[in-house]
Amino acid sequence: MKYSYIKPRKKSIFSAELKLVLTFFSITIFMLLGTYTFLLYKDYKFIEDRADIVQQRYDLNISLTQMKEEIEFIEKQNLLSQKIYTQNSVLKESMRNLFDLVPQRITLSEALLLDNGLILYGITPNKDVYNFMLQAPLRSIFHKTYSSFYPDKNGWLRFVSTNYIEEREDEN
C-alpha cells in the first residue's frame, strides 16, 4: 500500500467454480486411487496366501508321507507279531495234538521236532500197539514215516519213528 489510499483486493485464480471442480475431482480421484491401492494390496495378499497354501501343502505332504510310512510299519509289525503268535499257538496245538496222539501204553523217551519232520524215540510194549495206536495216526499226518525197532529188556520194543512232511514250507 505504497501510494494508494486503499489496499487492493486479493486476486486468486481459484474461483468458486474452479474450487468445486477441483474438490469433486480430487475426491473422485482419491477414491479411485484408494480402490486401486486396495486392489493391488489384495492381489499381493492373495498371491502371498496362495504361496503359503502351496508351502502348507508341501509340508503336509511330507508329514503325510511320513505318517503313511509309520502306519505301514506298524501294520507290518502287527502282522509279524500276529504271525509269531499264531506260529507259537500253532506250535503249541500241534505239540499238544501230537503228544495226545501218543497212547498211554507207549512211552516216549525223546522227541525231536524239526520244521519238516518229527523224530520220536520211545518204548512200546509190542509192535501191534505201536502200529495201530501210533504209526497209523502218524501216517495220516506225515507223508513219510519210517520206523525202526530195537528190542529192549522186558520184551518191550524200543522204536525210532522218523516222520517227514514232503512239502517244503518256508522257514519262518
Partner: protein, 179 residues
C-alpha cells in the same frame, strides 16, 4: 450467433474435460483389469483353500489313525522296541521251567526292518503242559519271540529236558528313527 466464453471459464472447461478423460482412462485401463485380476485371484484362492482344507482334514484323519494304531498296538510296539534282556526273560519265565538257561546264539541278523536275535534255550520242564503254558506266556511276554524248530524233548528222569531256539524280533533302531 457467436458464443463467447470468458478465458477463466475456458480454462475451467479444459481442466474439467482433462480430468474427466483421466478419470475414465484410469478407470477403464487400470482399475477394471485390476478388478478382474482381483476377482480371479480371490476365486482361485478360495478353491485352493478348500483343497488345502480337504488335504488338511485328510492329514488329520491319517494322524488320528496313526494315533489309534499306536495306542491299540502299544504292547506289540513296545515289545518290538524292547532290547532283549536274558536275565529278565529268565526271571519272568522261570515259573514254567524247573530250570532254564539261555545263551545267545548269534548276534542280530538284520532282516530289512527287523533285527532277529537268536537265542538257544535249554530247560527242564516237569510236563509238556508247562511247555504249552510257556508258549502261551511267550505270546504275552515283553518281547516278540518265536520258538523255532528244532525242538528237542528228552526224558531226563522225572523231568523233560528240552532244548529249542527262540528268535527275538526287534525293530532296527536306526531305520525307525530316519523314517
Amino acid at each position: 450467433m457467436k458464443i463467447n466464453i470468458s478465458r477463466p471459464n475456458i480454462y475451467l472447461l479444459i481442466l474439467s474435460i482433462f480430468l474427466l478423460i483421466f478419470v475414465f482412462v484410469f478407470s477403464f485401463a487400470v482399475l477394471i483389469p485390476e478388478g478382474k485380476e482381483y476377482r480371479k485371484q480371490r476365486s482361485e484362492l478360495k478353491k485352493e483353500r478348500r483343497a488345502a482344507l480337504r488335504y488338511q482334514n485328510f492329514n488329520n484323519e491319517t494322524s488320528e489313525l496313526l494315533k489309534t494304531l499306536k495306542s491299540d498296538n502299544r504292547e506289540v510296539l513296545t515289545a518290538f522296541e524292547r532290547a532283549f534282556n536274558e536275565k529278565r526273560f529268565q526271571k519272568q519265565h522261570s515259573n514254567y521251567f524247573s530250570s532254564l538257561s539261555i545263551s545267545k546264539e548269534s548276534s542280530a541278523i538284520v532282516d530289512d526292518e527287523f533285527s532277529i536275535y537268536e537265542v538257544n534255550t535249554t530247560s527242564q520242564i516237569s510236563s509238556p503242559q508247562s511247555f504249552y503254558d510257556f508258549l502261551d506266556a511267550l505270546n504275552k511276554s515283553d518281547w516278540i519271540i518265536s520258538v523255532n524248530f528244532p525242538i528237542n524233548f528228552k526224558r531226563d528222569g522225572e523231568l523233560i529236558k528240552s532244548t529249542f531256539t527262540m528268535k527275538v524280533y526287534a525293530t532296527l533302531k536306526d531305520s525307525n528313527s530316519t523314517k
